[in-house]
Amino acid sequence: MARLIGVCGLVAAVAGSLGCTGATDAVSGYPVGSGAENTSVNGSGGAAGPTDGSATSGVTGVTGVTGVGGANTGGVQSTGTTGAAGTVNLPEEPTAAAVRRLTHVEYNNTVADLLEDTSAPADQFTADIAQNGFTNNAAALTVSPSLVEQYMSAAEDLSRAATVDLVGLLGCDPASSGEQACIEAFIQDFGQRAWRRPLSEAERTRLLGVFTTARAEFELDVSVQLVLQVVLQSPQFIYLLEPATPGALPGSVEPLDGWQLATRLSYFLLGSTPDDSLMTAAETGALSTPEQVATEARRLLTLARARERIGLFFTEWLYLRNVDRMVKDPTLFPDYDLTLGPLLRQQLELFAQAVILDQGGSAVDLLTAPYTFISPELAPIYGVTAPSTEGFMRVDLDPSRRAGLLTHAGLLASLAKADQTDPVHRGKFVRERLLCETVPPPPPDANITPPAITPGSTTRERFAQHQSEPVCAGCHTLMDPIGLGFEHYDAVGQWRDLDGGLPVDATGTIEGSDVAGPFDGAIELSGKLAQSRQVMNCLAETWFRFALGRSVAPGDDPGLRALGDRFANTGFNMRELLVEVTLSRAFRHRLVPDPNTSAFGQEGQ
């Protein structure tokens, strides 16, 4: 227990120091470089927690607190970027990026774009799990034997469906142009689209060999099917491979080639295979400069798949899958039923997509804009007049009650129990998701069942023990006083003035961070968070993790500081943040791995 309180005390201390201008190096605590910090959790215990506190907070609050409203960023301290092109005068090293397989979502998108097959075969695969929040984290994307079987079945089904219109698939008629020539052309063209780069001569020869061998025994369409199955089960399709230049020095850093960069761009922003324009850009060397990369990134952000991708980011970042199938106490919330969950999630995605893609992209808006999208079913929860037509319509909300992401009912309801609010998890959510801090688990002997609802008491009263007991207060001080700020929203996210018959008290405090201090209610809290450089840096770090498909490593610190500054230079524009991520050195470069030694210091990670 003492260890845990100590950890919380430390988190608080670190967070508190973040407001101090110039605390950069002390906060980071990491030497620049990569790999050295990948120590095992083994050994003389206890080191993990404190390391964590600085690891997750180290990139935040490194410059002074400044106003972040609108485009006025004149006061922001810069660590020396030269604008969007991003020549950074800090040592910033890409850390070892593990090869990762496609997520199931990416697999579905990819086969849809490649074969116009929208059967979503990966929906039948054993579900992906998230690591550190995201399903595209390379560490979570393991391959069990059962998944290998499912890849085989999917490839077989896809290939059969694709050859129904054989001439259409091949792009030539074997009967008129000759089977061999037609198949060779198909392998070259389809192979390049499927493997996201031109095939080597050896690869083309091998695939043609598959066809020739098959054709000796099987029909033409079956033989093409077998070629397709090989393409779709090969590592060049299933994994995002970035082989180093032959002869490159292990441990050195080299830029990605155009194809690799196109692939990173496409899977980050679209969750799918590069489209024809992007392939052409890769082929013609039109991804060589940061300006060119930015141009492509901005183009990709106009595509429908980018909208989906942003929706997925928010779903995973905010754990919105939990919103889909929430069960609430039917006696307390008779009007709530399961059909509302998916609508509440969709509402959050629509809001985020609108802010980022349609309404200028302001991160401040994300946290404070007093509008959302309402369907007739959701109108009662928000106490607004139902739109007369089906589907979602943009609706302005009472700005004293609803403003920004955090006051959306789906989020608040998912951070609640079936029968009451959950200030602990609401506060923890703000700490973890918006401030990028971690809060340790409760000590094992703590009673963590929520207090029973007693008539005539408020939630605040029932959770008072967390503040009065020193054992609890060490950590709960970080969470509950934030979470209690949401007390005006009940367990399904509806506004309430009374809790247990008593007036709601939604005052709270943020301990630590660059916006420490008291506030009254979620609107004020959201306003404070929107002014926090730590929150903005957290957003940048989170998008960075999603873009790279991995957790943040110590070597990323300088790059993340630079990214935070560039984000500030955009006036905290989320849309431009996505572009800035693609311009970061880590996104455009790779570390040449050692062929003989594990980067993890242990065999076989």
Binding site: G45, V210, A418, Q605
Partner: protein
């Protein structure tokens, strides 16, 4: 070559979600029903979470003359087929510091220090993985070579996507190689009997096609591997190994000793994944029904000799399940930290799991093999990642075994140990399956378990 029965020509299983024993009897494999072929040895894991209430779980009495406590009372009809094992410690999990649920789950079947260094939310190791293979996979590497599947991992609510991986997975081929259980009985059925509707000729043709595809895919893996760093090559090599295993399946031929059973009723349409109190859950009693379907499929896979190593993971570690079927409204893990209020509920949950275990034993006993039953040729292991959930203790673990392991293991016993490392139990398991081993997992805890066999 006889044309096997078309799936649709067979009778559907019993109505409703549960398949039940009548289904199993109807589907018994031809060989298992009569053939005296020497029976293969099987290993199984049945996992439930969150520890036990010791005074309710622990039997009283002596090694051979004991009385079962309320938590294990449902096993009374099977008392001569079980070994109750108390007092082993997962001591390896105290060699390192991390979230204690991560540690408990990672060490439970591997008995080895986990890997990883990045601490994330709630102290979870977010880049973590097991330090070595779990005992089921270590056995599969040895006894899984002759069956379609080297091992079969089943789950009920094992994939809770908003928990971190270390508490989700229990079975590992090695570091970075978690074995994902299937929570959907339909998926399991397809995996076991997917080719079932084809004629023998069609199957042979399909297998020739698959072989040429898989050969070519392996050639691509070889080509790509030459360009990668050490870690990525390890990852892709595991994938290639699984593909080689598919080829091995083809070598075994298309015939199974079983006729293709009718598909289990569409349990998946009955599934109800809900989120209660912010955590994914199984609602409206689908949890027990999925579990029953999975146990039936497990028995079927063993009886048809499609796999000799099976596991059933009811939940993640720190189970988030709300046991509606018992009228209990609290989340299992949350209740396990409040014995003052919930110890009766917790015992009720553990008793319910014992009922499920008893059902599984009955089903295994219902399959005759030689002079005995399938259970006689099996070693079924029921671990828990914790002993006392309220303090996350991994000492004095409540373990239970069933089956005679081919007559090697004397059952009907209650064995009490004084803190032997659980590594020793797994070394003894290996020996029971003919694998010479002086230890298992972390080398600091060598030896086999005295007095066990």
């Amino acid at each position: 070559m006889s044309r096997r029965l078309h799936r649709r020509t067979l009778l559907r299983g019993a109505a409703g979600v549960a398949i039940g024993l009548p289904f199993l009897e109807a589907m018994l494999p031809r060989r298992a029903q009569g053939a005296p072929a020497p029976a293969p040895q099987r290993f199984g894991v049945f996992f439930s979470s969150c520890g036990v209430i010791e005074q309710d779980w622990l039997p009283s009495g002596t090694q051979t003359d004991f009385t079962l406590g309320p938590s294990l009372a449902p096993l009374e009809p099977h008392r001569n087929d079980i070994v109750i094992l108390h007092g082993l410690d997962a001591e390896t999990s105290y060699m390192q510091t991390a979230n204690e649920h991560d540690l408990a789950m990672a060490h439970m079947l591997t008995a080895m220090r986990m890997q990883g260094s990045q601490v994330g939310r709630a102290g979870h190791i977010i880049d973590g993985t097991a330090g070595g293979p779990s005992i089921d996979q270590a056995l599969a590497a040895s006894i899984g070579n002759d069956t379609k599947l080297r091992s079969l991992e089943l789950g009920v609510a094992s994939t809770i996507t908003d928990l971190e991986p270390m508490v989700i997975r229990m079975s590992y081929g090695g570091p970075g190689d978690p074995r994902t259980p299937m929570d959907d009985p339909q998926q399991v059925f397809t995996r076991l009997f997917g080719d079932g509707e084809a004629s023998e000729d069609e199957i042979q043709r399909l297998h020739r096609q698959r072989r040429s595809v898989l050969d070519a895919v392996l050639a691509e893996f070889d080509a790509v591997n030459a360009t990668l760093g050490y870690d990525d090559r390890q990852k892709l090599e595991r994938h290639a190994t699984a593909i080689r295993d598919l080829e091995r399946q083809l070598d075994l031929g298309g015939t199974s000793s079983c006729q293709v059973p009718s598909a289990p009723p569409d349990v998946s349409t009955e599934l109800f994944d809900c989120v209660r109190d912010g955590r994914p859950n199984k609602c409206l009693a689908s949890f027990p029904e999925i579990g029953k379907a999975q146990m039936d499929l497990m028995v079927l896979a063993l009886a048809c000799d499609l796999s000799r190593v099976v596991s059933l993971q009811w939940s993640t570690a720190e189970s988030t399940i709300v046991h509606d079927q018992l009228g209990i409204s609290g989340e299992h893990h949350l209740m396990s930290h409040d014995l003052n209020s919930f110890s009766a509920d917790l015992t009720q949950i553990n008793t319910w799991y014992a009922e499920q275990f008893a059902y599984l034993l009955s089903a295994l006993k219902n399959v005759p093999e030689g002079d005995g039953t399938l259970l006689d040729n099996m070693l079924l292991f029921w671990p828990n990642e914790l002993s006392q959930g309220e303090i996350h203790s991994r000492r004095g673990l409540p373990y239970l075994l069933a089956g005679g392991a081919g007559g090697q293991l004397q059952t009907g016993r209650f064995l009490q140990y004084q803190g032997n490392p659980h590594n020793q139990l797994y070394a003894s398991f290996l020996n029971l399956f003919g694998v010479p081993a002086q230890g298992f997992g972390e080398p600091d805890f060598p030896g086999t378990l005295a007095g066990f066999v």
